[in-house]
């Protein structure tokens, strides 16, 4: 038997270990550099400050509420989408769900305000029906967090629900299971595997939320730990305090990840089987169908309306730029190209790194495996402002040239996308069932061959989606290249912020719309790429009677 390339077990552990090592070393070194620069403030004393206690309490409180709400909405939507596997516009709704997370905060928030704000469409429409509705405060924070995170949760949960093996679904259908039994037999086992990871992800996103909290929070009573870190570092130059707060944040979120993700079961359910006809879920009809339709309609409106606000606001600016052409249009084009030049490698890198780290998680054994969930989450938990300052202190004497700078931007954007990408791939990667693994072992499908014949076919679609997220997160990421020195070389989000900072509201609205369109384009094209062919492949012999045992 020919030897499979990369069949040595070290190939499953080594790259992941290297990636985890790089992440850990960067984090520890960044924090250590800050501590080394400044005297360590006493932890007890820090905790004594009522301000900080209040901040921490509020952070935890809003993050918990936001997470619960996002998960509840996400789950309801995912279930409804699972029950209604075919309806016009379903694909588009999925793309919109993917889009909401990656929009630059300022764009999404401006859209939300256009709908739910004091002068928003909906507020005016519901005039008098909703006395006491006020966007600014906890309500607004929750609304925005649900807007960003419920679609993410829904998308990930739907992915899990759709991974339920067809035979199992058929049995449920034949038995006519309903309600709680259907949930216990079909949905819960699938969701259980991904729920801890999604919870940790959403919680961390809400915990470290920054601009949303400040814009919609109403005032400094709504302050997260991340704001306090930013303040310490940027306005008080108190490195020690900033680093200590960052450690508190890292510890809290890290603990949650370890607790939640370690308990998640990781094996696949049973071999999936492609069935010739779609399986009807027993709970597809009747009143439930109506309720699902209503829910999906409301949710679609919830997603579409703010985006429509962005569209309407940006259309004059964007058409203006295209009609007049000239310098502003050229700037827009160049910014677009530059953004993609960074985002494509960043996306690829995040997917690669996520695969390596997930492989480490599966094969690393008792001591190395926990590194996987921890390191895939770190980029979310440590404020990069902290990490960046620390690393800068370390690298100070020898910073690289322009090309290295570009690579570094892509690298860091890729790392930022890692938590999302890993979450998207974790479920599908772990979904291989025992029977398939047994076969693979006996047939000698090892190393590259195992990837080629077992993982790749199953992962094509999740990989395309993960890549889209990786690219889009980097594309929508505020800020990188203009900071390298040349204002003539902004990426799209940097251009947007530059226009915002100089009263160019109309152009900025146009740029925001254009950025949104580019993000949509990424999800549309990659969503299509990863689409499995509907039904079954064309059969060669249609005369053979097909029946099922």
């Amino acid at each position: 038997m020919p030897q499979a390339p990369f069949r040595h077990p070290a190939w499953l552990i080594g790259p992941g270990l290297a990636a985890a090592g790089i992440l850990l070393v960067m984090t520890v070194a960044g924090l250590a550099a800050l501590f080394w620069q400044a005297p360590l403030p006493a932890l007890a004393e820090l905790w004594q400050q009522p301000y900080l206690r209040r901040v921490l309490t509020f952070t935890l409180w809003q993050a918990t509420l936001s997470t619960l709400l996002s998960l509840a909405v996400g789950l309801a939507v995912a279930m409804a989408l699972a029950r209604r596997a075919v309806f016009p516009g379903r694909g588009l709704l999925l793309r919109l769900m993917e889009l909401s997370l990656v929009l630059p905060t300022i764009v999404a928030v401006s859209g939300l305000i256009g709908v739910f704000g004091r002068q928003g469409w909906l507020t005016r429409l519901a005039d008098g029906w909703l006395p006491g509705w006020n966007l600014y405060g906890l309500g607004g924070i929750l609304l925005a967090h649900v807007f960003f995170n419920a679609p993410l949760a829904g998308r990930l949960l739907l992915q899990a629900l759709e991974s339920v093996p067809a035979p199992r679904r058929r049995i449920a259908s034949q038995l006519g299971l309903r309600g709680r039994w259907l949930w216990l037999a079909l949905d819960w086992p699938a969701i259980r595997r991904v729920l801890p990871g999604i919870t940790a992800l959403v919680f961390t996103l809400c915990f470290t939320s920054f601009a949303i909290i400040m814009t919609l929070g109403g005032g400094p009573a709504s302050t997260t730990l991340e704001v306090a870190i930013y303040q310490s570092l940027r306005f008080e130059f108190d490195f020690g305090r900033a680093a200590l707060l960052a450690v508190v944040q890292l510890a809290l979120c890290g603990l949650l990840w370890l607790l939640l993700v370690r308990r998640a079961p990781t094996r696949g359910l049973a071999p999936d089987r492609r069935l010739p006809e779609p399986i009807r879920r027993p709970d597809q009809g009747g009143l439930r169908a109506l309720r699902d339709r209503a829910l999906l309609l409301v949710f679609s409106l919830f997603l579409v309306m703010p985006l429509a606000a962005v569209l309407i606001r940006g259309l004059p600016g964007l058409t203006g730029m295209f009609l007049q052409g000239g310098a502003p249009l050229a700037t827009l084009w160049h910014a677009t190209l530059r953004s993609f030049a960074i985002a494509l490698p960043a996306g690829l890198m995040s997917v690669l790194a996520a695969l390596c780290l997930l492989a480490l998680g599966n094969r690393g054994g008792r001591y190395l495996a926990p590194l996987s969930p921890l390191t895939t989450a770190i980029p979310l938990m440590v404020p990069p402002i902290v990490l960046g300052t620390g690393l800068f202190l370390l690298l100070r004497p020898s910073l690289g040239d322009a090309a290295q700078g570009m690579a570094l931007v892509a690298l860091i954007n890729g790392l930022m996308a890692l938590p999302f990408v890993a979450q998207l791939l974790r479920g599908p990667l772990n979904s291989l069932d025992a029977a398939s693994l047994r076969q693979a072992d006996q047939l000698g499908l090892l190393g590259w061959y195992r990837w080629r014949w077992l993982y790749w076919p199953k992962l094509k679609q999740p990989l395309a989606l993960a890549l889209a997220y990786g690219i889009a997160l980097s594309l929508g990421d505020f800020g990188v290249i203009a900071l390298f020195g040349a204002p003539q070389e902004p990426t799209l989000p940097v251009l947007l912020f530059q226009q915002l900072g100089s009263y160019r509201t109309e152009q900025a609205s146009g740029t925001a719309l254009w950025l949104g369109l580019m993000l949509l384009l990424v999800f549309l094209s990659l969503g299509r790429l990863g689409q499995p062919k509907a039904g079954r492949p064309a059969t060669t012999l249609s005369t053979t009677r097909v029946h099922h045992a």
Binding site: M1, P2, R274, S436, R438, D441, Q442, L443, R536, H548
Partner: protein, 203 residues
């Protein structure tokens, strides 16, 4: 000669088994016993999917305990889940001969011949999900045979099949015995055991 000695295994906090037998080329050993009696455990121990607590499995004087599944001279057919559901029939068969699927013309011919012999001509591009249970099982047995391994581990391979498929596969397995292969058969079915097995190992 397959020589299994004092092969012991226990699930954590569960039952404990010990197996001992020898088997010569051209022989078929039937493992009999009710559900949960350890038939599948023995199959998995032999194939290397489980690691025994103690004992040895010797094949032509070579110790197999500690050898990974892919390096053992055997091939398994289970009652179910023998095929990769996302790969078509030809790919499933081809992977049995070369995990890199770089098949020679002769190997391709063997696949075509095999499908034809089993009444599956033209099914090469089908997905397993599009086949009936009997057809799937024929493909599974065909793959096992294409692998040319001297030992066949058959765990309820004929259970639940229609009479036609059953008869066809039985004949095929008998032919394997005649070629000098060793068969270990776990089956509920007394008729299968009577037709195929030379000896019985109660568990």
């Amino acid at each position: 000669m397959l020589d299994v000695r004092d092969l012991t295994f226990h699930y954590p906090g569960g039952a404990r088994w010990q197996f001992q037998f020898t088997l010569a080329p051209g022989e078929c050993l039937a493992v009999a016993g009710p559900s949960g009696s350890g038939k599948s455990t023995l199959m998995n121990l032999l194939a290397g999917f489980l690691t025994p607590d103690a004992g040895s499995i010797q094949w032509r004087g070579r110790e197999l305990v500690g050898t990974p599944p892919w390096a053992r001279p055997m091939t398994s057919v289970f009652q179910e889940h023998n095929l990769f559901e996302h790969l078509d029939v030809t790919t499933n068969l081809g992977l049995g001969m070369d995990p890199g699927l770089r098949l020679t013309a002769r190997q391709r011919q063997r696949i075509a011949d095999g499908l034809k012999a089993l009444g599956l001509e033209g099914f090469g591009q089908r997905m397993p999900g599009d086949l009936s249970g009997g057809q799937r099982q024929r493909v599974a047995v065909l793959r096992a045979l294409l692998r040319d391994q001297p030992i066949l581990l058959l765990d309820e391979p004929l259970t639940g099949l229609d009479p036609e498929a059953r008869a066809l596969l039985r004949d095929l397995l008998l032919a394997q015995k005649a070629e000098g292969r060793l068969l270990v058969l776990a089956s509920h079915d007394a008729e299968d055991r009577d037709v195929l097995a030379d000896r019985l190992l109660p568990v």
